[in-house]
């Protein structure tokens, strides 16, 4: 259970594969992977900035797409990178509603970066449930 960074199917970008018992943890691991792709050391995120992120979509894979895009938006617009706190997902009226309490840090010259994440792609994007729990696959454009 957790995340793995892969180079399957793409030379130029980074693929993230996650496994978890609960759907909520798929989002937790993807947000940890997101920070690890960008930062040399995610311990640089001390959690000084708290923020609640909300996204909604009708399918789990699109919910993940929108969630990662929200992380990208926060990075570009507010210079914030996050590690996950509590994440809750509820299904209401046919839609999945995600509420994530995130612990963030304002990034700057003091941080040691690897590479920027520009976008989440839909290439082979999947969030599926099987007998062992949940699994996701997503390629990020870097």
């Amino acid at each position: 259970m957790g995340y793995e960074l892969l180079d399957e199917g793409t030379f130029a970008d980074v693929a993230v594969k996650c496994k978890a018992e609960r759907l909520e943890d798929i989002f937790k691991y993807n947000s940890e992977a997101f920070a690890a792709i960008i930062l040399d050391d995610t311990d640089a995120i001390k959690g000084n900035v708290k923020k609640i992120l909300r996204v909604q979509a009708d399918e789990p894979d699109l919910l993940l797409f929108d969630f990662v895009n929200e992380l990208i938006y926060q990075k570009d617009v507010n210079n914030l990178l996050f590690l996950p706190g509590n994440i809750e997902i509820e299904r209401q009226d046919g839609m999945l509603h995600l509420v994530a309490s995130m612990k963030g840090e304002r990034i700057g010259k003091k941080c040691s970066f690897i590479v920027d994440v520009k976008a989440a792609t839909m290439h082979e994007l999947s969030v599926i449930q099987d007998n062992e729990g949940w699994a996701s696959f997503m390629i990020l454009d870097v």
């Binding site: 130029a12 938006y73 970066f113 690897i114």
Partner: protein
């Protein structure tokens, strides 16, 4: 042959026949030498085959000799699509809309700047925003930002960031028509407004390069382009539309994914190829927003060039005229553009998607600056930071809708590169060879090591042999700034 289903058309061209995979509307053609084909990963073949399934695609789905796997289209993918019965797809352009290359020459030689090299590199690194976070040279919002989306590099020149001549020596004169700010989301405005005039990270760079006599292959053309040799210093800028373009692509990928099948009944093999008819509300909106991003990328490279000029004047205590910082050209390599081409003897208006591929118009075609009319369009090929880059020219008879390569093309994934190279060792090795490097990330530097890319000379040789474009000069790196 590496792939049983593939047939060899000639020594630099391979074809995946239309019957290979159900759903292909045209064959796929891969330009490559036998060695380059061997290095291409299997995903390139899957991805170019998927491109061949797009409604309205004409003749062939093409992959250039620097092709490598990406998402949706492979990098190096080209698809010309009929605008009357075909589609437009953000996956055929990429997230970094109008990522491209700009080249400017100087009157200076490497010996002239040798005593100032450290100061120059330090100043360029500190004055040109790069990497993650931070701001650009200019910050825009509201009406002014809308104006910049429509005017592109012309906005920069009108506001004192450049010379009118810069616009002449630029694809689309730095300002593509058809930009519609009303089609751009607030999120794209939020992400892009403060990043104008910044390099970004990944494979983007600003590089001082040297032109040596031995590396000039077409002296007459080089003279016209201002490439003099004798250790002349030139400056290459590789970047795109930054978060603005990324968000435009994301917004419309999400919108197209919702309608491609439910509304337009188009079956696609990969959601990244989500599309809408070019002549539809969604198609028109994306085209208008994408053109805004094309202009923002032109503006971005214009602002950076202007800042480079300022730094040179400041450090060398010379006037712009003494330095002679003239722009050679500026090319796009992630776009979809309306072009007229002849298909089966008939002229057709096509939306030509090029993702990691450069337009390469030949002499006599429209859109080429008067000074280059007899030469053909300059094509700027950014190689890896350790090897070199090329200036080429568009060539008559190019049968890939006048498209050519955009760079070296990766031969190693980022993860493999980090396992194979150490950023600090790489930096020391480059400096021992007289190259200057400034970077915010050793890991990022390792991912961009020369060994992670194909041999640029092999790529150029295959490109010339295939008749896609012709070489003018090879540029050797002297100082590199990586985000």
């Amino acid at each position: 042959m590496k792939y049983e289903y593939m047939k060899q058309v000639n020594s630099n061209l391979y074809e995946i026949p239309v019957e290979t995979v159900k759903g292909m509307r045209v064959p796929a053609r891969i330009y490559a030498s036998a060695e380059l084909l061997q290095d291409m990963d299997d995903a390139v073949m899957r991805q170019i085959t998927n491109v061949a399934m797009l409604p309205g695609i004409q003749e062939y789905a093409f992959c250039m000799p620097d092709g490598h796997s990406g998402y949706g289209f492979p990098i190096g993918g080209v698809a010309a699509i009929d605008i009357e019965n075909g589609v437009i797809s953000p996956g055929g352009i990429g997230f970094d809309i109008n990522c491209g290359v700009r080249l400017a020459v100087t009157n200076l030689t490497k010996d002239d700047i040798k005593p100032y090299m450290k100061k120059l590199m330090d100043a360029l690194y500190s004055k040109i925003p790069s990497g993650i976070g931070g701001s650009g040279i200019v910050s825009l919002a509201d009406q002014k930002f809308d104006e910049a989306m429509v005017k592109g590099a012309a906005w920069a020149v009108a506001n004192g960031y450049g010379e009118p001549e810069d616009l002449v020596m630029c694809e689309e004169k730095g300002c593509i028509q058809g930009a519609e700010p009303a089609s751009v989301s607030q999120k794209a405005r939020d992400r892009g407004g403060k990043q104008l005039g910044s390099l970004g990270s990944g494979n983007h760079y600003l590089e001082l390069q040297v032109v040596e006599d031995k590396n000039i292959f077409n002296r007459d053309a080089a003279d016209v382009l201002g490439l003099k040799g004798k250790g002349q210093v030139v400056c290459m800028i590789h970047c795109g539309s930054r978060g603005f373009g990324h968000q435009v692509a994301t917004d419309y990928l999400r919108k197209f994914a919702a309608v491609v099948n439910s509304k337009y009944k188009i079956d696609i093999p990969d959601r990244e190829l989500s599309c809408a008819p070019f002549d539809s509300e969604e198609g028109r909106d994306y085209f208008g927003a994408m053109n805004c991003a094309i202009n923002i990328a032109f503006l971005n490279r214009q602002l950076i060039l202007h800042r480079v000029r300022e730094v040179f004047c400041d450090i060398l205590r010379k006037s712009p005229a003494e330095i002679g910082f003239n722009q050679v050209y500026d090319v796009c390599h992630n776009t979809a553009k309306l072009e007229e081409h002849t298909v089966n003897g008939k002229k057709k208006k096509l939306i030509v998607h090029r993702k990691g591929a450069t337009r390469a118009f030949s002499s006599g075609m429209e859109e080429i600056p008067d000074a280059y009319a007899k030469l053909g369009q300059p094509v700027l090929i950014g190689g890896s930071m350790e090897t070199g880059s090329y200036v080429m020219l568009g060539k008559e008879g190019n049968s890939a809708f006048y498209s050519t390569v955009h760079g070296s093309g990766r031969v190693m994934s980022r993860k493999q590169a980090k396992k194979s190279f150490k950023g600090q060792d790489l930096l020391l090795n480059m400096e021992s060879k007289g190259m200057h490097v400034r970077t915010g990330s050793y890991s990022g530097l390792a991912e961009e090591a020369g060994g992670a890319y194909k041999n640029i000379d092999e790529v150029i040789k295959a490109t010339e042999s295939a008749g896609l474009s012709s070489s003018v000069a090879r540029l050797v790196p002297l100082g590199t700034i990586k985000g």
